[in-house]
């Protein structure tokens, strides 16, 4: 049987369409649904008002991550509203028979960190969560994207959502990355090229030799940032690196089932002559360690570069650009090197995995934290934290003046106590530098863990390549 060539995205999407609504979206089946304390309570409330049960409770997994404290997790949560959300999640899970990894469970952590590390995330799956960085799971060759609370309620009620099929985009990054250039830099580079709306309406497949060379952690970082280009999500075809990562994990298939699924996973790639609606190709050698200077993730440059002058911008672009620089306390044409830094944040579902902590630790080993820096090191999960301890990284970090906090989203969105004070500058490994994202008035510069490490030991924006 011959059929039209398909992209990886088509193959998985088409296999999950239950029904096509006339003149409308597809009824799209969801294999795995992750929920957390912030975007789920209203959805459960809606179900209850309708007198509905959760349709497939075994396909939803819950964890509280967004608002939880990163110190004293053994104690009751101090902040009353946060505690109420976490308690509500627990109660809803109990009532509806949903598996929950609560605060002190060894599998607890940021939802997009625990899914993959537990082997829940697998190639070919459809995955949603009421959090835009659900795109992280696309690193395994799955279709994963963020949804709103109404859609969370849809999944709970029917295991489906209504979605129009997005368009397809491929981004190829070819060649070898320079030393000191990481997946985070690839992501920031791409967004600086296509802008924060360049991916809107599309689902991205990342391909090319530079992408293949990334570890699973790196691929997750890259797919995680897809949403910052406006795309619904990003994915990478699974390969040996993917299979190796999944094998043996808690919920990974075992024995015969493994062989069966593996055979299917190996078919998951775009056909040679598949057509994409949009395609970009970049040279890995053009990418430098990146840092952002403004208030959206598209405002990034190589760390040794200068902020644009804005002279060639149109009126409304210029207005937004100036507003952004004013918020940051920067000026058009400023060099980034040497800029003041007050806080360093390592963590989030973008860069809170074991590899990120290895990289950071490796860099600061034998050096000292600069006196002007407050550093928050927040593992993405309890398992990441345990691994950090097991590998003896804590001792090296402590020796260099850094301490580890407990897992959670933390300063990525500053819903808990971890807020960067107004006017202060943070080099952050998270994903968003929006006004006030890390606390009211906080000024965020997004970067990789290596850049963050360089800032942490020098106390200012520094080119990490000087040390490599």
């Amino acid at each position: 049987m011959s059929s039209a060539p398909k992209t990886l995205f088509d193959k998985i999407w088409d296999a999950h369409v239950v029904e096509h609504v006339d003149g409308g979206p597809d009824v799209f089946y969801i294999d795995r649904h992750f929920i957390h304390e912030v975007t789920s309570p209203v959805a459960f409330g809606g179900l209850e008002r309708r007198g509905l049960k959760v349709f497939r409770p075994e396909k939803t997994v819950a964890t509280p991550d967004h608002n939880v404290p990163t110190e004293g997790q053994e104690l009751p949560i101090q902040e009353l509203l946060s505690r109420k959300q976490v308690d509500t999640l627990t109660a809803n899970c109990e009532k509806h028979n949903i598996g929950l990894y609560g605060l002190n469970h060894p599998f607890h952590g940021i939802v997009h960190v625990i899914g993959p590390e537990l082997g829940i995330t697998k190639p070919g799956m459809t995955i949603v969560c009421g959090d835009s960085h659900t795109s992280t799971h696309g690193a395994f060759g799955s279709i994963a994207f963020g949804i709103g609370t109404s859609e969370v309620e849809m999944v709970l009620a029917s295991q489906c959502i209504l979605q129009p099929k997005p368009k397809k985009m491929r981004i190829n990054v070819e060649g070898e990355l320079h030393k000191g250039v990481t997946a985070k830099d690839i992501a920031l580079y791409i967004i600086s090229k296509i802008s924060t709306s360049g991916g809107t309406g599309h689902f991205i497949e990342y391909a090319g030799s530079a992408i293949r060379s990334l570890s699973m952690e790196g691929r997750m970082t890259l797919c995680n940032m897809s949403i910052e280009s406006g795309a619904r999500g990003g994915m990478i075809a699974p390969d040996e690196v993917t299979f190796e990562y999944i094998k043996g994990r808690e919920f990974a298939p075992k024995g015969e089932e493994w062989e069966k699924q593996l055979a299917y996973w190996k078919t998951l790639k775009s056909d040679d002559d598949a057509v994409f609606d949009l395609e970009y190709t970049y040279d890995a050698a053009d990418i430098s360690p990146m840092i952002t200077y403004g208030t959206n993730p598209g405002m990034g440059i190589g760390v040794d570069g200068a902020i644009p002058t804005g002279e060639d911008m149109g009126k409304s672009d210029r207005f937004t650009f100036n507003k952004s620089l004013e918020y940051m306390g920067f000026h058009p044409g400023d060099k980034m090197l040497g800029k003041q830094v007050d806080y360093v944040f390592i963590g989030s579902c973008t860069n809170g995995r074991i590899e990120d902590f290895r990289t950071f630790t490796d860099f600061v080993k034998g050096k000292k934290k600069a006196d002007n820096i407050t550093a928050w090191l927040v593992p993405g999960s309890h398992q990441v934290e345990a691994q950090i301890r097991k590998e003896g990284l804590v001792e090296i970090l402590e020796e260099a003046g850094f301490e580890l906090r407990q897992p959670g989203c933390s300063a990525c969105l500053a819903m808990n106590e971890d807020k960067i004070p107004a006017g202060k500058y943070a080099v952050s490994t998270s994903n968003r530098n929006f006004e006030g994202r890390q606390g009211p008035g906080a000024r965020t510069m997004l970067a990789s863990p290596i850049m963050a490490a360089a800032a942490a030991v020098t106390g200012r924006v520094t080119d990490p390549r000087e040390f490599l």
Partner: protein, 197 residues
């Protein structure tokens, strides 16, 4: 939750000529701690609307008494960033029924439609003219008609049409919501699950 039926209306508009307005600006994370869907309008654009503390910022459009109405007109790429549906709830709760922009972020658009808030995407040129009209006369009125998929600047008489998915249009006009529809498909979904095995 069933949504309100969308009925054709005329109203002045509030201008927000800023681009890339992300959902963290629409409603900052620290106000997402409610477990019920009410009262989010109070914190709409919180950090732009208020100076530090609770003093209203007189320069922000929502605090300028000359602007009013059920239509928010915003710069391109509105609603980017976080998937929080609270952003759509806050805008709706504040009293807006329509957001006009030259470009919307995907998740925001879905969230808005799921709550009876209509995103109207117009050309950059039309948007520019809208801002000019409102600047010249803050009481200028606009008409939003979903049935005919048109938006009219009553000041200049210029009408533009906009896209909306036929299914979503039906939902908005009739106040249907997706969950009512999806639960009718449960048997079909169960059969689909069988076929996956």
């Amino acid at each position: 939750m069933p949504i309100d039926k969308f009925v054709k209306f005329r109203s002045p508009a509030v201008p927000l000529p800023i681009e890339n307005v992300d959902t963290d600006q629409i409603i900052p994370a620290r106000f997402l701690k409610a477990v019920e869907r009410k009262g989010f309008g109070d914190n709409l654009f919180r950090d732009w609307r208020y100076k530090s503390g609770d003093t209203p910022n007189p320069d922000f459009v929502l605090n300028e008494s000359r602007y009013s109405g059920k239509i928010l007109v915003a710069g391109k790429n509105f609603g980017s960033g976080s998937s929080r549906e609270h952003a759509a709830w806050a805008i709706y709760d504040y009293g807006f029924r329509v957001v006009v922009s030259s470009f919307f972020a995907d998740i925001f658009k879905n969230n808005a439609l799921n709550n009876g808030l209509l995103p109207v995407q117009v050309s950059p040129e039309y948007l520019e003219k809208l801002f000019e009209t409102i600047e010249a006369n803050p009481n200028a009125e606009f008409e939003v008609d979903l049935e005919s998929q048109t938006f009219t600047n009553l000041e200049t008489g210029e009408t533009t049409d906009y896209e909306i998915n036929a299914y979503k249009k039906k939902c908005l006009l009739n106040g249907y919501d997706d969950i009512d529809f999806l639960v009718t498909l449960k048997d079909k979904v169960a059969r689909f699950e069988e076929s996956l095995r």
